[in-house]
């Protein structure tokens, strides 16, 4: 059994009196598409933030390809091949789509202490940006300011930016948030293609998408993982059903 690409062990994070992450453990194998689901307030974004380095856990460890990254800063994790997309779109709004992606490529193309050459004319970066934009289907919108892109296009751009950093592991925080039916379908297709090239951890509310895409699913409730298994098993899991249909928030298909 190969070493999992991502191993999370007994992660704990508190906020005052609330334990947002309660001894969370999970493994993600290389090439897997692992979904994390759970009712609102289950602590999914908190978990992602700890995985990316924006939040420090109080105890527990995180290993990426066998390396302990628990206390590494966000940018160092990015250098090691961990990329994320944000739940609330977080792009450089006064730049174009191409600029955003080119910057991501630039971050992984040596240092940026170059003060003279015009970065926008660097063919290597521009080509990498173009390629990433093509992957998500945004190449025709390359020179549009991010503030002028539609919400759906921005979500796709988030993905392109993450891809441009050539990650081994892609953490996607609700990539379908706010997308309509057609856009969601596009995103699902996109993810189907991407999963062949990169390991993905997907946090999502959209159950249809999750059950179509995921190899394995972990269910997070009140900061604890109550089940971690293949989709079929999760569907039949009593605890999971209770968590979703009991007095917790009921998640329905997106609309």
């Amino acid at each position: 059994m190969a070493e999992p690409l991502l191993r999370v062990k007994d992660l704990v994070r508190r906020f005052g009196g609330i334990t947002a992450t309660d001894r969370v453990s999970l493994d993600v194998a290389e090439g897997e598409l692992h979904a994390i689901i759970g009712p609102n307030g289950a602590g999914k974004t908190t978990l992602i933030s700890q995985l990316t380095g924006h939040l420090t856990p109080h105890s527990g460890c995180i290993f990426l390809a066998g390396k302990d990254i628990t206390h590494l800063t966000a940018w160092r994790r990015s250098a090691l091949g961990l990329a994320r997309s944000f739940q609330i779109t977080s792009l450089l709004t006064d730049f174009t789509a191409a600029d955003n992606v080119a910057l991501a490529a630039q971050a992984h193309d040596g240092h940026s202490f170059s003060f003279w050459r015009n970065a926008r004319k660097e063919s290597g970066l521009r080509q990498a940006a173009q390629a990433a934009l093509e992957r998500v289907g945004l190449d025709h919108r390359a020179d549009v300011l991010v503030s002028r892109l539609s919400h759906g296009e921005q979500r796709e751009l988030e993905l392109a930016v993450a891809l441009a950093t050539r990650p081994q592991l892609l953490l996607l925080d609700e990539p379908m948030a706010g997308l309509g039916v057609t856009e969601s379908a596009r995103m699902v297709k996109l993810l189907q293609e991407l999963r062949k090239q990169v390991t993905i951890v997907l946090v999502e509310h959209d159950m249809d998408a999750v059950f179509v895409l995921a190899d394995r699913i972990s269910v997070l409730v009140y900061g604890r993982v109550i089940a971690s298994d293949v989709p079929v098993a999760i569907r039949q899991n009593e605890e999971v059903k209770r968590a979703y249909l009991g007095d917790q928030h009921v998640v329905t298909a997106h609309g």
């Binding site: 730049f95 630039q106 940026s112």
Partner: protein, 314 residues
């Protein structure tokens, strides 16, 4: 003529005006205009250096006048101690400013937002107090510089016209450098950090390193302005670093239009000419400047360059 718009035209006009000023001064016999505009050009240089971190980098430093003092005192102290050569004074001014920027920057960048503003302010005021306590170099009263920086025949700083052109060359040189920097890889990172620091960290940029380097570059340029300023007034005192001077610089940058190349120049020209005109009208010009600033903040988004930009679009 595709790119000719109000902004470009205004900029070109202004630069032409600055280039031709000594000619005007000579022909009209108005020497005062030359001295006034030498000062304006020097402060425009300082404003441009502030614009690099403020407008492009998003770092709101309220302590930029410190570099005017550091550069100026480098020249003054060395002159006092008998080292009158500009070839020594100017590099020392730049190096001292860079060092100050490195230390202050490293400390200040541990904070964000309004705390960053407060801290840069505090450190600049510290520099002011330190300068005030240097009894040997005039303390509060300041230090007279009896001989301007000596560049051994290359250029005579005591000649008003030559000095003006040196300052103007400095200004245009600095703006050129800023232009290259801003469009380089480094500049992209710095602008990205201004736009969304969290995103930049997520894609793999160590934010503080880039911000610090930007801060140091900006400070060094400010030191150049300081060295020129000391030569211009033949005098240096702590007052040059008083925190209201930092405020003046910020106003020039914002008035002209943050994050534009020539905005700081426009801002400096307008602010200082206005100050000059108003002070001739009334002794209490600050009574008008004060509320004027308030109004600019309330209504003048994007400064003058922003205003001109809107004209060219509409």
């Amino acid at each position: 003529m595709k790119n000719l718009n109000a902004r470009t035209a205004a900029t070109a006009l202004m630069v032409a005006g600055l280039l031709l000023l000594p000619l005007y001064s000579q022909l009209s016999g108005n020497v005062f205009a030359l001295t006034l505009f030498t000062r304006i050009v020097i402060l425009a240089l300082a404003a441009a250096s502030l614009n690099l971190i403020m407008g492009y980098g998003g770092m709101m430093s309220f302590g930029h006048a410190a570099y005017l003092g550091i550069g100026g005192y480098a020249v003054g102290i060395l002159a006092q101690e008998g080292l009158g050569s500009g070839f020594i004074q100017f590099p020392v001014a730049l190096a001292a400013s860079a060092l100050y920027a490195l230390v202050i920057g490293a400390l200040s960048l541990r904070t964000r937002g309004v705390y960053f503003i407060m801290i840069t302010l505090a450190f600049a005021q510290m520099a002011y107090y330190v300068a005030s306590s240097l009894a040997r170099y005039g303390g509060d009263d300041g230090l007279t510089i009896y001989k301007r920086s000596d560049f051994s025949g290359l250029i005579n700083l005591s000649n008003r016209t030559q000095f003006y052109y040196l300052c103007l060359a400095g200004l245009l040189g600095v703006i050129f450098l800023i232009w290259r920097i801003v469009n380089s890889r480094f500049g992209m990172v710095v602008q990205g950090l201004r736009s969304n620091e969290q995103r930049m960290q997520a894609i793999g940029f160590p934010a503080n390193r880039y911000k610090l380097v930007c801060f140091v570059i900006s400070g060094t340029m400010g030191g150049l302005a300081g060295a020129l300023l000391a030569n211009n007034t033949d005098f240096i005192s702590p007052a040059v670093m008083y925190w209201t001077r930092s405020g003046d610089l910020m106003v020039m940058v914002i008035l002209g239009g943050m994050g534009t190349l020539f905005g700081p120049v426009v801002g400096a020209v307008v602010y200082l000419v206005l100050e000059e005109l108003l002070s001739q009208v009334t002794e209490y010009w600050a009574l008008i400047m004060g509320p004027l600033l308030l109004l600019i903040v309330l209504f003048g988004r994007g400064g003058i360059m922003g205003l001109l930009g809107r004209f060219s679009r509409g």
